[in-house]
Symmetry: C2
Subunit: 447 residues, 2 copies
């Protein structure tokens, strides 16, 4: 036996599992054909968030006069994509080196090259056949190819977007998920002309419809044209056809729903809908072979992928618990940010739960006023009888960090009364949790 | 009986108590001689946070080139204090009107003028004698007069700082608390020359010494000269003498520790150290007379004052619980922000608790890298045997909102294992909680 564990793919599922496996004493190899960190670190979360940060700062600078800052000439102000991209690449390199260091520190053997699953316990990397008691497939996902009757040269994949020194200035973003929305806003905020075309009838189908309506309104006000429930049906000399209209653009950026990236396989690995089929312990049909992260279709979020990685290591070490995913946050790094955890209204309605919705607006919060970030709210969905918090939705400048508090409350099965009692400092934006808790307890304070 | 409850002072203790009292059916009057909202809303928290937001944006704009934003001429960039002040005043007016509306909505009679406590159940406002079953004194606090042998015209009180259209460009800030630190940084970031003189040997004596050391280092690096354990001993033609040195300045801004503001009293009200003495139910020695907020010396934070206001209304309504204040956060809106909740190291050491410190740096967090806000960390203090979280300290750009998650964990008596299990989205700064929880559980991930 060469290894206790071989992991195929070094994205957020694979590299996190490898670190933990090394820590708990498993002799571990990690095989990666491209870059450590995978999609998230190299082309996804990290570079897009870095570029979004630049774009958001650019927008805020244009409002600087409101804050009493003078001397900025709007006609000279320019978003230099190449420099913003360089910054994003420096951040990616720093984090990639960090992952490399962590793997080395925890004794993980990193093997560069493509891995083939030969069979249970057998992986071929290059021309070496490696034996291992356990194998994790963590090869991730990528956007589905754009199925539209338009020339291939019009289409840009997101991997191709964050690397070049230039971006097209007039684009159509195709897709309905958070990633499509982030790319659309990033390009719009940095000065481009953007339309968003989605097959779905609303943006972020995984979110509560209330959040979808909010962000659709916001994007429209910000000048992003929306074509929802629409397909790309063709092209013309200066653009594409979507929803029966001509939409002028240089390029279409493909942010379609994702499909699994499968490794070469020389045995009978069961799939479902193109993803590797797993049970609740993340095991495939093959003994000792697990699938973690996007490739199993149970996740399309980096943090869920990492959590699955840790979970599978536990299973290998004999801690057989089922993977419970209800309480993972859904974060969208839009402007303002959107975050959600727990159940949505349609989910609660479908379960027949008698629930209550309590909302508190940022416009009634002093710190949000001081920051100049008033567009947003918090919504609590709670059980009517006992007040258990069942879902939390936030729209706020820093919603993606604020959702951590809601996650803690859900993790500990807290009630709206607990939330109303959590001591919040004044003035903070997070006071809106307490205020919404008070609304839910029929003791509203600042509303 | 004219009222069930008369509240003297409309700051965060008084106005919040009045809203809640109205809600629970008490016939309530609120007497205020100056502006609704008190120190916090009119001269303290809200205007200083608004001005700090302007100053922080000004500083970030000077780093815009790093983010790929071009066309800003550093020589033309100017912080216009008057415009920033106008913005702060607009925010104050909006919030004051909001408080006015909330009081009206909840049926609170607002009486303008100075109130005298005549005796139990009796308040004189102007020339009217009002009778009430209960009286709350909520007259707040102000910085102690600066006791230094320097001319009075050199000294500026913080109330005088946020209103005028200009600020002195070369200042000494006197004081050691969060408020002194915020004022010093606000003036420095907006372009002034600032020295900080404090009688205490370290800044923020209420914080863990680790946090004090951090912020002292940061202020020094940012070019604020520090004179700790120093007194102002005199003046010379272009400044003052502090710690035996000449410190050039136009003005000294007084951010001394605070003393109670007492209403005129015509009866025997017991004081301790200049503050109104109260028991654990916030009752004074006089029957039916309570003291809430800064005036009782049990609080110098707006959110603690508000919580005391709510608490005292509960006591009046027959819910006799003792006021428990351990879990209120201490927030400093510095750059980066500082937030603390629960016990500090010296407090745990004094109690003989066997505790563990677990730290995770922002420099290992992807979102902090993307935001360009790497200076900071989270520290968990936990019980060694059972892992209960006993204290949390954060330094981060948005620490004052992030501490909400720690407050939720403490509120629910969570352990480091709970914290490590709370699902955090990637990439978020709040992942540092989970990472620190994993460090505490001896399963560090990204470090």
């Amino acid at each position: 036996m060469d290894f206790d564990l071989i992991i195929i793919g070094a994205g957020p599922a694979g590299y996190v599992a490898a670190i933990r496996a090394g820590q708990v004493g498993l002799k571990t190899a990690l095989v990666e054909k491209a870059d450590l960190g995978g999609m998230c670190l190299n082309w996804g979360c990290i570079p897009t968030k870095s570029l979004l940060e630049s774009a958001k700062l650019y927008e805020r600078i244009r409002t600087a006069a409101q804050f009493g800052i003078e001397g900025i000439d709007e006609y000279k102000l320019r978003f230099n994509w190449r420099l913003a991209r360089d910054r994003a690449q420096r951040i990616v390199r720093r984090l990639t080196r960090g992952v490399e260091g962590l793997l080395a520190k925890n004794g993980v053997a990193v093997i560069s090259g493509e891995a083939t699953l030969v069979g249970p316990g057998q992986v071929r990397a290059g021309d070496r056949l490696l034996m291992a008691a356990n194998i994790f497939i963590a090869t991730g996902s990528r956007p589905r190819p754009l199925e539209a009757p338009i020339p291939a040269e019009l289409v840009v994949e997101v991997e191709q977007l964050v690397r070049p020194a230039e971006v097209p200035q007039q684009v159509v973003v195709y897709g309905e998920g958070g990633n499509a929305l982030e790319v659309a806003q990033m390009l719009k905020l940095s000065g481009g002309t953007v339309a968003l075309v989605a097959a779905a009838g609303r943006l972020i189908p995984a979110a509560d419809p209330y959040l979808s309506r909010f962000i659709q309104g916001r994007l429209s006000r910000d000048g992003i044209r929306l074509y929802l429930g629409a397909a790309i049906t063709g092209h013309y000399e200066s653009g594409i056809l979507a929803g029966g209209e001509r939409v002028q653009c240089e390029r279409v950026i493909n942010c379609s729903l994702r499909q699994a990236v499968l490794p070469p396989v020389e045995c009978q690995l069961d799939l479902a809908d193109g993803f590797i089929q797993t049970d609740e312990y993340l095991q495939t049909n093959l003994p000792g072979v697990y699938a973690i992260g996007d490739v199993n279709g149970r996740s399309d979020l980096a943090h869920v992928a990492s959590a699955q990685g840790l979970h599978a290591v536990n299973v290998v070490k004999g801690i057989r618990r089922k993977m419970e995913q209800r309480h993972f946050p859904l974060n969208i790094y839009s402007q303002p940010e959107i975050a959600q955890i727990g159940f949505t209204e349609p989910e609660l309605a479908a379960q027949g739960v008698d629930y209550k919705v309590s909302e508190f607006p940022l416009a009634a919060n002093g710190k949000a006023l001081a920051e100049g970030t008033l567009d947003g709210f918090v919504r609590l969905l709670s059980d009517k009888r006992f007040g258990e918090v069942l879902g939390v939705q936030i729209v706020a400048a820093h919603a993606t960090d604020m959702i951590g508090e809601a996650a803690a409350i859900l993790q500990m099965e807290g009630t709206v009364y607990d939330l109303a009692k959590v001591a919040h400092a004044h003035p903070t934006v997070s006071e809106i949790f307490m205020e919404a808790g008070l609304v839910a307890a029929d003791q509203p304070l600042h509303i």
